[in-house]
């Protein structure tokens, strides 16, 4: 299995996800949309598993490989949100966002390389990166809701319900980035000698974390403005994007040990 076969799996998965998203509007019963989405996820998971096996290392090292997991976890986050909250449009949103990352992967394919440098040969590697990609997907879903809120503001029937949804997504996503960050710190102590060195990636991870801290604490007060909350979410997601791949382009970060190949 290599990146050349990716396009076939991707098209198949996207087809199922799109059918699931459309089915959400057509059927009141959530079973069919759920099954279609899961089918797409299984196909995609098959590719990831095949790639893992052929590379003989977890596919978590390069930028393209992290995009792969993101494209997988987005429909997962969308599905869980849809099942919990019944909002029909969330499946379309997550499918669309997953498609964006899939297209990026197809147009900017990665180097197929089995080598894993010694520093990455650690049991912390896979959980640290996977939990981060999972949290990015949940927070991505929250950001999509925030965008939806800001665009449709006056026409929303039950804004409180929408905000309760972003609260749940942000609590889950923040819990995951916290765990990812702390795992990274413990791993750093094992690998580099110190748990926190303000490496640019770490700095932006801290900034992202603080951004979501602002949201969570602001939302504690009953007089919190929904609109302001959504804006905070958009800003926090921007910090997240910088942390994920923006650092690779920052002049201040060229010396970072976290720069992806």
């Amino acid at each position: 299995m290599n990146w050349d076969s990716f396009i076939y799996f991707a098209i198949a998965s996207l087809l199922f996800w799109a059918m699931g998203a459309a089915a959400a509007y057509k059927y009141r019963n959530k079973t069919i949309p759920a099954l279609l989405t899961v089918a797409g996820l299984l196909i995609f998971a098959l590719f990831i598993a095949g790639l893992w096996h052929s590379l003989e290392r977890p596919p978590l090292r390069t930028m393209g490989e992290t995009r792969l997991w993101y494209a997988f976890f987005l429909p997962v986050a969308g599905l869980l949100t849809y099942l919990r909250w019944n909002y029909k449009w969330i499946l379309s949103f997550t499918t669309l966002l997953a498609a964006v990352f899939i297209v990026v992967n197809i147009t900017k394919p990665d180097i197929h390389n089995k080598a894993l440098m010694p520093a990455l040969q650690s049991p912390w590697f896979a959980p640290h990166v996977i939990i981060y990609m999972f949290s990015y997907a949940i927070l991505g879903a929250a950001t999509l809701v925030a965008l939806y809120y800001l665009i449709r503001e006056e026409k929303i029937g039950n804004p409180d319900r929408l905000v309760q949804m972003t609260d749940e997504l942000v609590y889950a996503g923040t819990a995951c980035i916290t765990l990812g960050m702390l795992m990274g710190a413990i791993w750093a102590k094992e690998a580099w000698g110190h748990y926190w060195s303000w490496d640019p990636k770490e700095t932006w991870a801290a900034a992202t974390w603080l951004g979501y801290m602002v949201y969570i604490h602001y939302r504690l007060k009953k007089n919190a403005s929904h609109k302001m909350s959504m804006i905070i979410l958009l800003f926090a997601f921007l910090l997240l994007q910088i942390c994920w791949y923006g650092v690779n382009y920052l002049p201040s970060a060229q010396q970072s040990i976290h720069t992806y190949s």
Binding site: L179, G193, T203, A207, S252
Partner: protein, 437 residues
């Protein structure tokens, strides 16, 4: 309701005069900015914080005073509205936001080592502000301590309220962060990081710190053997003139698997004829002789057969990435392309050492990346090695780290992890819960 400890919400900020209780976000931003500004004044007058000044026992005393002060303020002034405000959201959110701003600056501006002299920093406006060494600048550190104060007060304040199961998560997160952040800040003054180079067969007991000073240790490291493993060699197609690996947009390569295979790289088809993991290369004016040779400094070589692109005649030859003894060797395929072998990627490297302590104990151990070795109050890391001899390197570089406050920080980290799990499982307070309060 006052007994619940919830501060009354401000009616509408515009309707109230500033500094009129109850305080809200407006006062929060003023206080946080004020603290950052005080830090700025300090920064402009005395420059960066020197961590060495706060080494033990100064940091411990400061920590004890801080916690005592915090506790005193909470217990002696429970009705004071400013104190109640300090333990609440209206103080916390602006403080977090201002710290976030400094973090963003920290992330955008290149950072210099803390022991850089002022001459080494760029001559811009940012230098006196301390932005090139943000984490030892006064505004940053004062703001961190302000947040620690808020964290402490809010934790203590919560103990005065009716306890519910949700409070477990609250204490884990807030007290955990207090320990991790406080321990990390105060502990950084006692952190010692030394590097030590040892050659194979030799013993060393002196290490160098980040300022270049040499320190004698109460332990000695003897490097018995240093081992490197490399990944199998790869073949690539390069552009003769530039040496660039092709295709330029997505460099292709083939990692050797076995002899007899036919592979295609960057549009060039070749057959793998032979493989020598230990070879010597002898070249005279016309001929390259490659022979298997088990020796120190032997290189890796692969023999390939390919059709020359111009005259379609088969051409055979050896490709090798050389070593410190032998030059590398490529096989020309056409006027502007050749088959080459890049240096092999490192799979793992480790040091087999014997440790001697002043007490007279000797023990053998292996030190490897991701598997450091704790000895007395040091942890010894496989830092790097001298790679002039490539895979025949016989000089290992260790890093020795001493961090007395690590246990405090790890306690905080564990609490935060438990708190995060709690956050995930419990989620935000449901509206139904609020009706009960």
């Amino acid at each position: 309701m006052a007994g619940k400890g919830q501060s009354k919400q401000p009616v509408g900020q515009s309707e109230m005069r500033i500094w009129e209780h109850p305080w809200g976000y407006r006062e929060g931003f003023i206080v946080a900015a004020g603290i950052a500004f005080s830090g700025l004044l300090l920064q402009l007058t005395v420059g960066n914080i020197q961590p060495a000044l706060f080494a033990s026992p100064v940091n411990s005393i400061f920590g004890a005073l801080f916690v005592t002060g915090l506790t005193a303020v909470h217990f002696l002034l429970p009705k004071n509205r400013t104190v109640r405000w300090l333990g609440g959201v209206y103080a916390a959110v602006p403080a977090i936001a201002v710290l976030l701003l400094l973090c963003i600056i920290l992330g955008l501006i290149p950072q210099f080592p803390h022991n850089s002299s002022n001459e080494q920093l760029p001559p811009t406006l940012f230098t006196p502000l301390g932005w090139y060494r943000m984490t030892t600048s006064w505004p940053f550190v004062l703001l961190c301590f302000y947040i620690l104060f808020i964290l402490g007060l809010t934790t203590l304040k919560r103990t005065g309220q009716k306890q519910s199961w949700r409070d477990i998560g609250f204490y884990l997160n807030h007290l955990g962060l207090f320990l991790a952040l406080g321990g990390g800040l105060l502990g950084s003054a006692d952190l010692e990081r030394l590097t030590m180079s040892v050659n194979e067969g030799e013993i060393a007991w002196r290490a160098t710190n980040q300022s270049g000073e040499i320190k004698e240790l109460s332990l000695a490291i003897q490097l018995d053997t240093f081992l490197i493993e490399e990944y199998p060699p790869r073949l690539v197609i390069i552009e003769n003139e530039t040496g660039r690996i092709l295709p330029a947009t997505r460099p292709d390569s083939y990692q050797f698997e076995e002899v007899g295979k036919t592979v295609q790289i960057a549009g060039v088809t070749m057959e793998i004829l032979d493989y020598l993991p230990h070879a010597a290369l002898f070249r005279d004016s016309t001929f390259l002789n490659v022979v298997p040779m088990m020796m120190e400094g032997a290189t890796t070589a692969i023999k390939v057969r390919v059709n020359n692109a111009e005259d379609n005649q088969p051409v055979e030859g050896w490709v090798s990435n050389g070593s410190y003894l032998f030059p590398h060797s490529t096989l020309q395929v056409s006027g502007n392309r050749s088959i080459a072998m890049p240096p092999q990627e490192i799979k793992r490297y480790r040091s087999y050492v014997t440790l001697y302590t002043e007490k007279g104990t000797a023990r053998q151990a292996i030190i490897e990346v991701n598997r450091p070795l704790p000895v007395e109050d040091w942890i010894i890391y496989q830092y790097s090695y001298d790679d002039t001899k490539g895979k025949y390197a016989d000089s290992s570089v260790f890093e020795l780290v001493r961090d007395p406050w690590l246990k405090v920080v790890y306690t905080g980290i564990c609490m935060l992890m438990a708190g995060a799990l709690f956050l995930f499982v419990a989620g935000p307070k449901k509206k139904a819960d609020e009706k009960d309060k």
